[in-house]
Amino acid sequence: MKRILLPLLAAAALLLQPALAQENFPVNGVSDNRPQRYAFTHATVVQDYQTRIEDATLLIENGKVVAVGKNVTIPPGTTVHDLKGRWIYPGLVELDASYGLPPVEEKPRASRADGPQMETNTPGAYAWNEAIKAEYSAVSDFNAKDSEAKALRDLGFSTVLTHRHDGIARGTGALVTLADDKSHNVIINPRASAHLSFDKGSSRQDYPGSLMGAIALLRQIYLDSRWYTSQQEKPFVDRSLTAFNEQQRLPQIFEVKDMLSVLRADKIGDEFGQQYIIRGAGDEYQRLDAIKATGARLIIPLNFQPAYDVSDPLDEMNVSLADMKHWEMAPYNPMLLQQKGIEFALTTDGLKEKKDFWTNLRKAVKYGLDKQTAIKALTHTPAQLLGAGNKVGALRGGMLANFIITSGDVLEDDATIYENWIGGKRYELKAMPAQELAGMYRLDLGGNTYNIEISGPADKVKFRLMESDTTGHDMNALVGENLINLTFSPAPKDTSRTQLVRLSGWWDGRNWKGLGRNEQGQEMPFTLSYTGPAKERKQADKKPAAALPKPGEIPQPFLAYGQVKPLEAKRYLIKGATVWTNEAEGIMQNADVLVEDGKIRQIGTNLSAAGAEVIDGAGKHLTSGIIDEHSHIAIQGGVNEASQSVTAEVRIGDVINSEDINIYRQLAGGVTAAQLLHGSANPIGGQSGLIKLRWGKAPEEMKIQGADGYIKFALGENVKQANWGPHYTERFPQTRMGVEQVMVDAFTRAKAYEQAWKDYNGLSRRAKANATAPRKDLELEALLQILNGERFITSHSYVQSEINMLMKVAEDFGFTINTFTHILEGYKVADKMAKHGVGASTFADWWLYKMEVQEAIPYNAALMHNQGVVTAINSDDAEMARRLNQEAAKTVKYGGMTEEDAWKMVTLNPAKLLHLDGSMGSIKAGKDADLVLWNDNPLAIYAKPLKTMIDGVIYYDLERDEQMRRELQQERARLILKMQEEKKNGGDTKPVAVKQQKVWHCEDLSGLNHVHHSEHEAH
């Protein structure tokens, strides 16, 4: 079959041949087009990642492959290279580069003194937001530059996808070769891909100032570009939107910085019908199942970190377990992805030193990455991802003559890449000795025969005198193209025989032969002749140490106290406890509670349940789980989108961070659910994320399914930027007067928006066909949901005037404020609040830190409660959240609440405020089994949770915690030992850096690369 096809393919290739020099260019001098036909014979050709042909010929002509195979006819007039013993691979393809593009201009970071940048600084008719650079086209800026090309060429790459790493929508990338040629000739596909990220890059425009803002912006750009494109007559010109829309059919490559953002990016893709190719960070192994479920193909770096220098224990303790484990696990990432069936390409991007590429790749292979998969990830996959599989990534007739010549299997440690051919042009990386010598040889010397093994690439051969099939002794050898000099001890084990045999000879075209002297100095002839390949032995030669190292365990989340095995719900019978029901039954003494299928099944006395695990509750207190109405834990990339006065479009639910140790710490404080709120830096903030603290689950699994939508509003000093310093005086509003108008304006716009859609939807089918649908606006959609009772406001508030104001605004627009949070002067207008029907979620005793809290009093909760306001005590603080029981107890001290009512302030009342009291907040049959078992009265400072259960799963257990502490110590000790060995063996180490965890408060202004912040971390 192949033989029949070959001439045809060859002919086809010739027909498709482009002129070598660009034919429209004038020539200075006489034409000099030389014959460009080469044959590479007797090589092991890896034609594509799954086809290896031994003793094959590769025929190329004019920069293209003509034929590959065992029986290729070499036409006369062909330059022939004998590559016996050598391997040929398709040239490697790099998908993440900025080759040939000018560097992204680093604008200085905005400082506080610069004030805000509200609008884009990009001149021209481009997107309103500077981070949207969809109009950018790499090919317009591309300039082939040999000095840059060489770095990647020297690693064996011949094709790269180049694009500019700047902005959220980054425009298109170009697929180019690394040939040393004019830009015109190296571009394979000028528009090969579109690029996206969550990083606003060089933009210093305030928006987006957070990860959630970046996500919201991207969503809106999809909608805007569709709306814009759908119009025959454009209302204005926006070249970014046009470009963005035109790019939708290209492969979409999304760059992220960690594995949770792989999930985030994929989710956006799902919303807009795109399956992104995701450039990951090399930590995907930490959430394999979730990443597999995205169906995304990945581009993965090999950015393995050196071990930490752990020689000083007082420094070493500052390395987090997660960082230590990542050091150990990163080299397994490719193997684990392969095992999971996730397709990926490999990139050199992210390597500190490009030269580490092969070392790291071979390390990944040693750690279990299949060789075929490794080659696939550098050839086939990247080519396929760009739809360039007919040009690069394999060696078939008609494809580009891009290939590398190696000394052997390129994934073996000692392999050498000699040459990189790109478009039929040769680039020498290392001088190629005349021939490969590796194999088994027989030495005949004066009637004695010796078995000799030659191994390694020709440029660094090793000779060994073999004792058996597997053991041998090194020999000294000097090998040139023509001459050989060999000295060895013929009986290396016999120490009494110190004399050496010395040989000097020449290559006769088949064997080495020449004159030698034996131990006694007698002169005698020798021959050294090839007997066969040595590869069989090579397998057996592997030392046990080289066997696949066993990967460490992968806890979820990937940090201390993570779970290696998922925790499971069980049937539990808690017996004989003091049960705080939060129901009419009040506090029941000596009661039993049965938990089944994640729910509270039954409450009573002397219950029995066959097969249920019995938990002794004697002397202990059982309560429903604490619900924190105001939390900022488990949020990634900023809690405030502080850049605009209204950011109703941003969603905390987009940026939930399942890998936050504070989730576990709060479980240890009895917290089972929380509202993750946007911050308070602008009047209308973002949408909340309601979660249960399901430690170990992925972000989406932590969300409370079916929960109502919430949104953060804020009033007072924060939103008028009163404490941001003298430079923040531009953004409207700067007064409480302005805050009201922001609210009124927002809802007025939302109503107009609703009307516009109503008008449009009310058109006849015919009229509709000629009309343009209104622009879908995610900010206004969220506001409209509020007006329509589909989304609920938690509003940050302090002083009575503003509290009253917001209630009046809501009443004017016909809805009710759901919750005032902080609400430190709520006690002054508690009667009005009760009348409006708003709830309160407050601090127990905070005050003093700014002017608007000067009249904050710790009696606030009790006074509001007594006026009939549903009142909760919240944290707004990762630390305080783990002691909310104590904060609730303060309402007993300040204002004389009963203990039962005090307890409801952190359980039932927040459940009511979050509309979750149907399933949470009390101990009642049918509700979720979100329970805490305490060693003491839960309001006492001496109380500790013994177990914290969510949906019938015990996520925190004091005894298990102690066990885990011990295991943690052992795991650290194991890793420290391993790092010390690494150091001893000459491996690189890096000094210790301390892992600092960001704890968000609602006034933390920014999550992305931006700077303004308040000096005092006030609340």
């Binding site: 987090s320 106290y561 240890a668 009696y859 107890a889 204002g895 006492a940 109380a943 933390d1004």
Partner: protein, 434 residues
């Protein structure tokens, strides 16, 4: 500029026009007998049925009322049966009275500019009329060590009692010691919302050298007899070398603690106290061997490292105490510092015996600050600084201060908070239907 002043003034007005801190109580006229309370002496002992006699501002006697025959003629006899009596709690290392509103610069007087300010004295800036003071007393805090912060050597602190017309009247111990902030070995990169990895502080060696050079000069100055030219800074350092003043050093990482103490010792500083000391656990032997007491900072904080025991900050006092180190507790956050008693409660919940935990905010602190001859326990001869709580004062659930005394003067325990509470409670009670 004018606008700014006007703005500040407007915001300040309600502050001034409303509730004032209550007037300090008049001097004790008559001896007082607090009868039948559960007395927690602050030295580890409890008298279940106590009689506490107060005369001329001093504790005349503390006895078991069950057996004692007491002649109480002329005494004001107050029954506190079933209630708990404690020595006044001491809040060390606080900016109480030096700072009012974090967000308003003009109310902040706790950090001077410059690296070396040993001559700066917190006492003279201590504002006895601060609205904050009455709000900490209602939780049992009756004494404070008002301390400056900022720079490498911040200045000197003084110990005050929290009921006075002016700073002079408030003094328990004037200029008890100097405050040094040991430079961090590690420096945080990035910025607070996006912290980068923590690096070694490149300036550490220089800052350490600056401190050494300053201490060296101070030692030389102190030994040189009467100097030709008075150097206010070095003059202020003298007390460190003769032991009349303490040196309080804030340091957190283990190595910083060791370096700080060793450096101070090298220059002959006699009384050293390590403050904050989040990593003290890892150098406990060092602290014990050198007999260094520790003022442990905020127990209600998150562990420093993700792999730390989740309750590590809570149990740190227990671990240090077990190692034989004298421990006091501090609350480094003015707005919440009234919760100091609950740090002791937390220490008790996590391994410290309750009366020992009490010592960490009374007698241990008094000893560390050098005022244990006057205060810190309910013992004969000490200043009558004490209070009565209806329940266990270390637990927020039961802490309920019913009366408090400073030098036998019965305090007016109202505060802005209580007044506002009463004001609005009355409003609602007066409304129909209430």
């Amino acid at each position: 500029m004018k606008k700014l002043i006007l703005y500040t003034a407007l915001l300040g007005l309600p502050l001034l026009s409303q509730a004032q801190a209550p007037a300090p109580a008049p001097a004790q006229q008559q001896p007082i007998a607090l009868m039948n309370g559960i007395a927690h002496l602050g030295n580890g002992q409890v008298i279940q049925n106590s009689a506490i006699l107060i005369r001329d501002g001093k504790i005349e006697n503390v006895v078991d009322a069950t057996n004692a025959r007491l002649a109480l003629d002329g005494y004001e006899v107050i029954s506190v049966e079933g209630q708990h009596v404690y020595p006044g709690f001491i809040l060390p290392y606080t900016n109480l009275g030096l700072r009012e509103v974090d967000a308003v610069r003009s109310t902040i007087d706790d950090a001077e500019v410059g690296d070396f300010n040993p001559n700066v004295r917190s006492l003279i800036a201590y504002n006895t009329d601060s609205e904050v003071i009455p709000t900490v007393r209602t939780n049992g805090i009756l004494m404070a060590q008002v301390a400056p912060r900022g720079g490498l050597i911040s200045g000197s602190s003084s110990v005050v009692a929290l009921d006075a017309w002016n700073w002079e009247d408030a003094v328990v111990q004037e200029d008890d010691g100097l405050w040094m902030n040991w430079p961090s070995i590690y420096r945080r990169t990035g910025w607070w919302a996006e912290p980068g990895p923590i690096e070694k502080n490149k300036n550490y060696d220089k800052q350490k050298a600056d401190i050494e050079s300053f201490l060296g000069s101070a030692v030389a100055y102190s030994q040189g007899g009467k100097p030709k030219e008075t150097n206010l800074k070095l003059e202020a350092m003298k007390g460190l070398f003769d032991g009349s003043k303490r040196l309080y050093i804030t340091a957190n990482y283990a190595k910083e603690i060791v370096e700080a103490v060793k450096t101070a010792q090298k220059y002959g500083v006699k009384n050293i106290v390590v403050v904050e000391a989040e990593d003290a656990l890892y150098v406990q032997d060092f602290l014990k061997e050198n007999n260094i007491p520790v003022l442990v900072a905020n127990l209600h904080r998150l562990p420093d490292r993700p792999e730390d025991d989740v309750d590590l900050p809570y149990k740190l006092p227990a671990l240090l105490q077990k190692a034989g180190i004298t421990v006091g507790l501090l609350y480094d956050d003015l707005k919440s510092s009234r919760n100091l008693p609950f740090f002791a409660g937390t220490a008790a919940a996590y391994g410290v015996e309750r009366e020992e935990a009490l010592k960490m905010i009374t007698s241990n602190t008094a000893k560390i600050l050098g005022v244990d001859d006057r205060a810190g326990t309910l013992e004969k001869g000490k200043r009558a600084i004490l209070f009565v709580s209806q329940g266990d004062a270390l637990d927020m659930r039961t802490n309920n201060v019913s009366m408090a005394f400073i030098d036998g003067r019965k305090l007016n325990l109202t505060s802005r908070h209580i007044e506002l509470y009463e004001k609005f409670k009355n409003k609602y009670e007066a409304q129909p239907g209430q």
